[in-house]
Amino acid sequence: MSQWRFEEYSDQFDTSKFDCGELILNEYLNKYMKQDLKRNASVSVLAVGSNDEVVGFYTLSSGSVQFENFPETLKKKIAPYPVPIARMGRLAVDRSMQRQGLGRELLLHAFSRVEALATKIGIRAIVVDAKNESAEFFYLKYGFAYLQNSAGSKKSFFMII
C-alpha cells in the first residue's frame, strides 16, 4: 500500500506540520495556496499521508513563452504568437518523505495531468522552476532542458508535451 495518495487541495488536510526544508514553500502551503485557488491563479495537488497530513504538493498554472525577437524566418516554422505552456511553479516534499520517490511521483502526476489537458487545449510544454541545485539535478535527471534563469537564483526548465 502506498504511503501517500494524491488529492485536490482541501482544508480538511493537515498542513501544519509540513516542512520540506524550504521556508518559502512551507509558507506558501500554509498561507497562500488557498488564496491562489480562490483567485484561480493556480491549482494545487496534494500528496496526503495516512493521517490526512500533507506530505507533498505541486502547483500548476497556465502561462506563455514569448521571444524578444521573432525573425521572419521563424514565422515560417511556428505561429507568431506566444507559445502556450503549463507551469509547475512549485513542487515540495516533506522531509519525512524525501528520498522515497514522492518527488518523482508528484512530477509525473503533474505531467500526466498536463498531457491530458494538452489534448483539449493548446499546451506545448511544461515549464518548471528549480529553486536550488538539488532541484536542478532532479529535473535534468528526468530530461528537462534548461530554459532560462528566472527570479532570484532560480532556473527554469522545460519539457515539450
Binding site: 491563479a41 513563452v65 525577437n69 521563424l74 516554422k77 505531467f111 530554459l147 528566472s150 527570479a151 515539450i160
Partner: protein, 90 residues
C-alpha cells in the same frame, strides 16, 4: 503615496495617510475628489513567481524552438519512471 490634507479655507477634512495593512490608499486631488486606489501587497519573491509570461532571448529562443520542432524527447529515467507511475496508478 497619499497626502495628508489639512482643513483648508474650503473646509475640506483631512483624510490622513495610508493606513497600514489596508488595501487602499486615499488621496485628494486638486478638485477635492477622493481617489481610492486598491493595493495588493505581495512579497517580492512571490510576485516574481506570478510572472506567467516568460520572455526568451535569442539563444534561449533557438533552443526552445528547436525542441518544439522536434519529436518530444524522453530520456530513459523519465520513460522508466512514467511506466512505473502508470502501472501504480492507472
Amino acid at each position: 503615496m497619499s497626502s495628508v490634507v489639512q482643513k483648508d479655507s474650503r473646509n475640506r477634512v483631512s483624510l490622513g495617510s495610508d493606513v497600514r495593512d489596508t488595501h487602499f490608499t486615499r488621496e485628494v486631488d486638486s478638485e477635492g475628489r477622493i481617489i481610492f486606489t486598491p493595493c495588493v501587497l505581495v512579497p517580492k519573491n512571490e510576485y516574481e513567481e506570478y510572472q506567467e509570461h516568460i520572455v526568451l532571448n535569442d539563444k534561449q529562443r533557438d533552443n526552445f524552438v528547436a525542441a518544439l520542432l522536434n519529436k518530444p524527447a524522453r530520456n530513459k529515467a523519465f520513460t522508466k519512471a512514467q511506466a512505473a507511475f502508470k502501472k501504480k496508478y492507472e
